[in-house]
């Protein structure tokens, strides 16, 4: 379970979050929607304890949290396979499992390539493969499909949905269609809150 209570946060002159609350239970799927810069990613950062709020409480009972950030955040000195293996054991025996996740994300042929050798869309799929390989109890996706064309985004979305039996999902998106495809309950931004 993830619960955010009365979260308020000011960044510079802007009051980004104002008494914002959110509760996510096992297997529940929520999509956060709102205009660019309204505070969706900031709320995710607070939920992931990467940003301390000015006020409010965050509690999370899950241990395995897979995250796909807006930017892929890959280790440039590791191959695609090693990037996925990072969240497994980082040992040779889990490399085949890492390779299987790459296959599922249509990156099988890129397993020996470094991130700089991959396109933007491939890098994003690699970061999705890494998050799924963790077999997360909570998967956090921050606009994960923006570097992909519609057809590919559809296939990847399907893979993600199939790989998440029982896991909770927190999705940030601008696309209502995407949110519905994942079966998410949609929360929209309104005056510093998501309702």
């Amino acid at each position: 379970m993830l619960e955010l209570k009365d979260i308020s946060l000011r960044l510079g002159d802007k009051q980004v979050l104002r008494g914002c609350g959110l509760r996510l239970d096992d297997g529940e799927r929520i999509a956060l929607m709102g205009p660019s810069g309204c505070g969706k990613t900031t709320l995710l950062r607070v939920a992931l304890s990467l940003q301390k709020p000015d006020a409010g409480e965050v509690s999370c009972s899950w241990n395995r949290i897979g995250v796909v950030f807006q930017e892929p955040r890959l280790l440039g000195w590791c191959t695609a396979e090693e990037n996925v293996n990072l969240v497994l054991s980082d040992k040779a025996e889990t490399l085949p499992e890492a390779a299987r996740w790459l296959d599922r994300l249509e990156l099988g042929e890129a397993r020996g390539l470094y991130p700089a050798e991959l396109s933007g869309g491939m890098q994003q799929r690699l970061s999705i493969a890494r998050a799924l390989a963790l077999r997360p109890e909570l998967l956090v996706l921050d606009e994960p499909f923006k570097a992909m064309d519609e057809a590919l985004a559809g296939r990847v979305g399907q893979t993600v949905a199939q790989s998440l039996p029982g896991a909770a999902l927190l999705l940030v998106t601008h696309s209502e269609e995407e949110a519905r495809a994942f079966g998410c309950r949609i929360l929209r931004y309104e005056n510093g809150r998501f309702v």
């Binding site: 304890s49 897979g66 955040r73 280790l75 956090v140």
Partner: protein, 253 residues
């Protein structure tokens, strides 16, 4: 012709060019006491290298200087880790490192000779030359670790050892490599200079000092050539070692 072969041939051509200039200059001067020819120096170096004493002397000097360099590298990394965590410690240490870097090496050698035994001075001097460079570069590497990758490690709850091996080490190694590139030659030269002034038993410095006293210019040049060659070999070996550690951590730098 491969690019590597072309590069080697070009380097050889440059070396040959300067050896030729040296040979011409020696022929013009015409006095071995002032400027021996490269051929005479090479012959003298081969003569010296034919005796066991040469290798024992070289081994002792390498032991002294490498002890100093290795201690400085370890201490530099340790201090960089500490000052990365503590801004107060960094503020305290920064001026000391600047002072060490700016002080003439001869002042340190004379002070160390007053305070320490003559056999200890060369490693201490080599360490003093290497320490600020390693500390500054490793600190820069630690400061430059991508915070987004550290956040990634935090949310994925990666174990500390894995974060060190996969994120910290590959981020720092290129800086350590750069530090070794610039500091090794410096440490080696300063160590030998300290030997010349402190003349410890069985040392390259002592042999250079004696060659100067007895006006054995060719031997002086031969020992100097040995110092240069050893510096190149040690630098290559250590950089290869750092590169190997880097590969294990996944760094390609």
């Amino acid at each position: 012709m491969s690019a590597a072969l072309r590069k080697t041939l070009r380097t050889l051509a440059v070396v040959l060019f300067w050896l030729l200039i040296w040979q011409l200059a020696a022929a013009l001067v015409g006095q071995e006491l002032l400027l021996p020819s490269p051929l005479r120096v090479a012959r003298e170096l081969l003569r010296l290298a034919g005796g066991a004493e040469f290798w024992l002397t070289v081994a002792q000097s390498i032991r002294r200087v490498l002890t100093g360099i290795a201690s400085a590298v370890l201490l530099g990394i340790l201090l960089a880790l500490l000052t990365h965590k503590s801004a107060l410690l960094r503020a305290l240490l920064s001026p000391v490192m600047t002072l060490v870097k700016s002080t003439p090496v001869a002042s340190f050698i004379i002070l160390a000779l007053v305070w320490l035994g003559r056999d200890v001075v060369p490693p201490v001097i080599a360490a003093l030359m290497v320490l600020p460079v390693v500390w500054a570069n490793v600190s820069q590497g630690l400061d430059g670790i991508d915070p987004q990758l550290l956040e990634l490690a935090q949310v994925f709850r990666l174990p500390r050892g894995r974060v060190f091996r996969r994120i910290t080490l590959p981020s720092v190694l290129p800086h350590l490599r750069a530090a070794l590139c610039s500091a090794l030659g410096l440490g080696w030269k300063a160590g030998v200079a300290a030997e010349i002034l402190t003349v410890p038993a069985r040392s390259i410095g002592k042999r250079i000092y004696e060659a100067k006293i007895y006006l054995e210019t060719t031997e002086l040049f031969a020992w100097t050539a040995a110092v240069v060659l050893l510096s190149l070999v040690i630098e290559r070996l250590l950089l290869r070692l750092v590169g190997r550690i880097g590969k294990k951590g996944g760094a390609h730098a």
